[in-house]
């Protein structure tokens, strides 16, 4: 942990606020799922990107605030981010190659 990092860590009250935001984002995800089912005009072209953005936001909040990566030395962020990005890129390419997703 970086020197003096504990002074930047959120307080319990802020952790609860972050958890509330996470709960609202989860509720929004579920609402989008049912919206897609109920309103045909919306379709997957809108809901899929929206769901991916919401989950990315949740992912970021947990990693940055609960795992404290935002307050850590940059080396840890580089390790973690490179692992996530490389794995994501590898599997996206595999899925595209096998025709499971269309990239362009």
């Amino acid at each position: 942990m970086a020197e003096g990092a504990q002074h930047h860590h959120p307080q319990p009250r802020q952790y609860v606020q972050i958890a509330l935001v996470l709960a609202v984002l989860t509720a929004a995800e579920v609402a989008l799922f049912y919206l897609e089912d109920g309103v045909e005009e919306i379709g997957q072209t809108l809901t899929v990107p929206a769901l991916l953005i919401l989950s990315a936001l949740k992912f970021y909040l947990v990693v940055a605030m609960f795992m404290h990566l935002r307050f850590e030395k940059p080396l840890l962020s580089r390790f973690f981010t490179s692992g996530a990005v490389l794995a994501g890129a590898l599997y996206l390419i595999t899925l595209a190659t096998l025709g499971a997703v269309i990239l362009f």
């Binding site: 504990q6 995800e29 799922f33 991916l52 919401l54 949740k58 990693v63 609960f66 030395k73 096998l98």
Partner: protein, 203 residues
């Protein structure tokens, strides 16, 4: 927490040239490598979920109970809050709250895993057996592997909680263990965030 994890106690010998405790660095590298494991399993499921396995084939997507899984997801998400509150309480030196939040996190983990067992039981009752088709196998492998991670996390939390009860509180050196278990627990949570959207919500 800087003092707890900085290694002024027993952990002082674990510092490297990076200035980061080697155990903590090791945990981050391990978690980074876990992306490959879970990525492979998610990839596997995405490849098979849309395949045609003949007339009358049963797929996991036909049996999903989204309200139930949403509540499970919420429970796991809230366990990340209780975990970070345990970490925060230990940094303040509040041993009672540390213990309480550690056990609360373990309890929420048990609730989540119980939900997963219930879901598997329901699916099997409906005929979706493990080997019925590759899509079902991929689903059980992915969610089961995640559930196994949660069980390991619950065991680690219980060990810390009972150790705290037995000794009257966790020492400064053990504070790093709480942080490492916390990192693992939050990681299990973020993997579920991805699974919930890619497997359950995007059909």
């Amino acid at each position: 927490m800087a003092e707890l994890v900085g290694g002024h106690g027993e952990g002082a010998g674990h510092h490297q040239v990076t200035g980061i405790d080697s155990r903590k660095l090791g945990m981050w590298v391990f978690l980074s490598s876990e992306f490959l494991f879970f990525g492979a399993l998610i990839n596997n499921y995405l490849l098979f979920k849309g395949r045609d396995f003949g007339p009358g084939a049963l797929y996991p997507v036909e049996l999903y109970d989204i309200p139930f899984t949403s509540i499970s997801s919420f429970v796991l998400l809230m366990s990340s809050l209780t975990m970070v509150l345990a970490h925060s309480a230990l940094a303040r030196g509040d041993q009672y709250q540390t213990r309480t939040w550690l056990f609360a996190t373990a309890f929420l983990g048990v609730v989540f895993v119980s939900g997963q067992f219930f879901e598997f039981g329901e699916f099997i009752l409906h005929g979706l057996k493990l080997n019925i088709n590759p899509a079902a196998s991929a689903f059980y492998l992915l969610t089961g592997f995640h559930g196994f991670h949660v069980i390991i996390g619950v065991l680690m939390l219980m060990v810390l909680g009972f150790k705290s009860m037995r000794t009257g509180g966790l020492s400064e050196a053990e504070g790093l263990n709480v942080e490492l278990v916390g990192l693992y627990w939050h990681f299990v949570d973020i993997i579920w965030i991805v699974i919930f959207v890619l497997v359950y919500l995007i059909q």
